[in-house]
Symmetry: C2
Subunit: 367 residues, 2 copies
Amino acid sequence: MQNTNAVHTYAVIMAGGGGTRLWPISRKETPKQLLPLLGKDTLFQSTVARLEKLFPPERILVVTVAEQAREMQKQVPAIPLENYLIEPAPRGTASVVALAAAVLQKRDPQAAMAIQTSDHYIRNRDLFHYLIRAAFDVAQEKYLVTLGITPTYPSTGYGYIQQGAALNGNYRYPVYVVERFKEKPDEETAQKLLRSGDHSWNSGMFVWRADTILGEIERQMPELFKVVNKIAGAWGTSEQDKVVQENWFDLKSQTVDYGVMERAERVAVLPAGGLGWNDVGSWDSLFEVLLPDMNGNVANNAQHLALDTHNTLVYSKTDERLVVTIGLDDIVVVDAGDVLMVCKVDQSQKVKDVVEHLKKHHQEKYL
Amino acid sequence: MQNTNAVHTYAVIMAGGGGTRLWPISRKETPKQLLPLLGKDTLFQSTVARLEKLFPPERILVVTVAEQAREMQKQVPAIPLENYLIEPAPRGTASVVALAAAVLQKRDPQAAMAIQTSDHYIRNRDLFHYLIRAAFDVAQEKYLVTLGITPTYPSTGYGYIQQGAALNGNYRYPVYVVERFKEKPDEETAQKLLRSGDHSWNSGMFVWRADTILGEIERQMPELFKVVNKIAGAWGTSEQDKVVQENWFDLKSQTVDYGVMERAERVAVLPAGGLGWNDVGSWDSLFEVLLPDMNGNVANNAQHLALDTHNTLVYSKTDERLVVTIGLDDIVVVDAGDVLMVCKVDQSQKVKDVVEHLKKHHQEKYL
């Protein structure tokens, strides 16, 4: 990537999560990001492909859990092994970000990083590249930069970012001071935020210099700062594993939004419209991203025979079974082999209630 | 069975059919009547159990095709082997009835027979027994007696029987001369027939003396009469198979309704209300017969986890798969192993269109 300023740019992919809302396809052992949900490539592979235009593979880091790292290395062999940072146990995105920043800072004191999720979809890659470049320009000025997504409907599923005054500076894209971060709103509030014109969805994508974010962490989460510095100090030495094991588990779990961003000093937002961003966070989100036929139907993998069927997604793990639908509207049919799910599209958020139910009733084999 | 008159009563079960409207569970090799659709027993077993109160097993005949006979003998070992009449190829119910009458007549010149289907459900067995007894009384007087079903909704799926004047005679149940047989009506006509009060559904259950029906067949279908007499003459001899093979295939296919009943001379109907008759002819019919839970749902075999689901039938060939439904109303989910079908209840008649489609596209493995 070409930069006119002095920072060295890296990407950090956060990839430890589960994604139970795409159950029964997304499972503990094969979480969402490792599945080819949108075609041939897995979401993780697409994420890397999207980043490779900006970052050579040796500048892409992945923070994940041990169980997923092996499969990721298989899916994307180009990223060097030493670029995988393994969380011994999940301690929230604040810990992930702090660890990545500390390790990177030690490796390269001029490091700046784009924090990326592993399991989202972005249709417009060129715009994405343009925005990330613009964000690095702003980050160079010691801002914590967030990529906001211009809302297209009154979502109650995302957090919101309210923008304040425009930043002065000769940036290639409009940038605003962040006025406030807001938690997931209720229906009525979401309607207001949508109409307000100055709110973006919090996409979980951030861009900053390692020293800037570490400065904020030192100020707001000194305990975390101490731990990740200790770990970074031992990183790449024979002591690494021991130091990680001794310190990581005492960390308290915290998100970067709540733990750092909400009270940080120099926070900016780039409100991105037209990015075609989708968090693929539920069956109806996934459905939105897939290309339907003239009846609005999508069949992924499955042999689908549709009679009087409209706006129906048939999602199958294999193409072995014939799926016949008759007289259906707005239905999701998921065939995961051992589990079959049939769900009204607009109720697909309730999948997580099913997962809770199965946990409670000790039906681990389905999780 | 106790009879005050001279006829010897037999039951003849017609069991050669396929039942494609319960596809994908009902298949060529495992047709509807051989499946435990309503619990532990198959429809064929239930049919025999219902008849055994009136007829000892040696008085129950089964007309079927060779492929099904073996499985039937397994399911109901009590019926003697010689009571199975094998159709070498399907030639319609007229041929079945004629063959059974000719063979029975030869075996027992005083035979009277109740023609029964193998794949219907009757909830009220006591009333059924009462009606069959009453029908034999009428049949004794050389009537062709049909059991009519009092309509409960404007069905366009059944033929109708219009009753005329009441028969004189000291019968234990009201009997009427048949005014007319009517083909399956359109929606509007069905509404009229339902309101008329003098129309019954044609259930396909008949009671008559062998000599009466053979007399009508001789008069109306002399070719068929000749063939079945020839076959009956050789029945039980070493010539039997040869004579059947030589003559059966030339028969033209015809239903007993159209070929005999519509123009027969002495035809009577017993209009049966409250029999709880159901032809289990489609998924919505089957659904009607099964006992739902308080949300109107039925799960047969399947482990079913239902969220906000109402009036939904989950029918599975095995209990191996977990079936989850969310936000569904009036849906049938059928898991046949290699085929998965999801269908709006009131569109389940369209299953036969799917079967046609598969035939046309040579996907025999699913039929």
